[in-house]
């Protein structure tokens, strides 16, 4: 566990580098996390994915699979990989302030 400053607040991170406390998350923190992942701007489409991930996490206790994400959020696989290049599941979870997804799909 480490704590560092992000978007003007002290944020705790777990050993995977994901946020340890979801309560500390807000839109500015998300933007700062996105920048660290090489995504300079979060547009409406990014937010559809991030909000969907947070919603599923609240309901199920884990981030959705890519299949569930693309089937239910309205963002298809191609677009998902464009929005979050190099590892959409992990990156989107990280930016959404969620732990690393446990699923394989």
């Amino acid at each position: 566990m480490e704590t560092r400053e992000l978007a003007g607040a002290a944020i705790a991170f777990d050993e995977d580098g994901h946020m340890a406390n979801r309560q500390e998350w807000n839109e500015n923190v998300a933007l700062a996390l996105a920048k660290e992942e090489g995504i300079d701007e979060l547009n409406d489409r990014h937010w559809i994915v991030l909000n969907f991930m947070r919603k599923v996490f609240d309901e199920m206790g884990d981030a959705p699979s890519i299949r569930k994400l693309t089937k239910e959020s309205g963002v298809n696989t191609k677009e998902l990989y464009q929005l979050f290049p190099k590892g959409p599941a992990k990156k989107a979870a990280k930016i959404a302030g969620l732990p690393k997804p446990k699923g394989c799909i």
């Binding site: 693309t70 190099k86 799909i105």
Partner: protein, 155 residues
């Protein structure tokens, strides 16, 4: 820390349901992690990308000791279909897509799919027999060229 894996080339050589899925899951999992993934289908593994066959792959119930059913029971007509439908249900519950959808998913995720030329010639197939997601029919030599710098995984 060891260098992270950046590229994998996965060979799918078997055509049973349980023979095909590990390769697909690994390829999709690679793309999810931002790892480049190439799938090379050879021998009976081609069934996973042959348009007319990919929706009908079956679990092998004979010659498969891990199924834990006696061989003579596994040979009863309908046994393979039964085992297949059970496994498909379990997979659906885990959000593992059917073969065709999985192939589309991997393709849309930027994974590349190739058919083995030797097998294509042997079975008298052509590009039109394959799902549209298949990029090309390539030789073993081309496969090795494309796999430069990647980890090759044989399934």
């Amino acid at each position: 820390m060891a260098e992270p894996i950046e590229k994998v080339s996965i060979v799918v050589s078997r055509g049973s349901l349980e023979g095909v899925y590990p390769g697909l899951i690994m390829a999709n999992g690679a793309r999810m992690e931002g790892i480049e993934a190439t799938l090379f289908f050879t021998f009976f593994g081609l069934d996973a990308i042959i348009d007319k066959r990919m929706d009908n792959l079956k679990v092998a119930t004979v010659g498969n000791p891990a199924m834990h059913i006696p061989t003579f029971l596994g040979a009863i007509p309908g046994m393979s279909a039964f085992a297949t439908s059970k496994m498909k249900k379990e997979m659906e519950a885990l959000d593992i897509p059917p073969v065709r959808e999985f192939i589309e998913m991997i393709h849309d995720a930027g994974g590349e799919l190739y058919a083995c030329k030797a097998t294509v010639d042997m079975f008298h197939l052509s590009k039109s027999d394959f799902a549209p997601q298949v990029d090309e029919i390539i030789s073993v030599g081309q496969f090795y060229e494309m796999s430069a710098g990647s980890q090759i995984i044989f399934t």
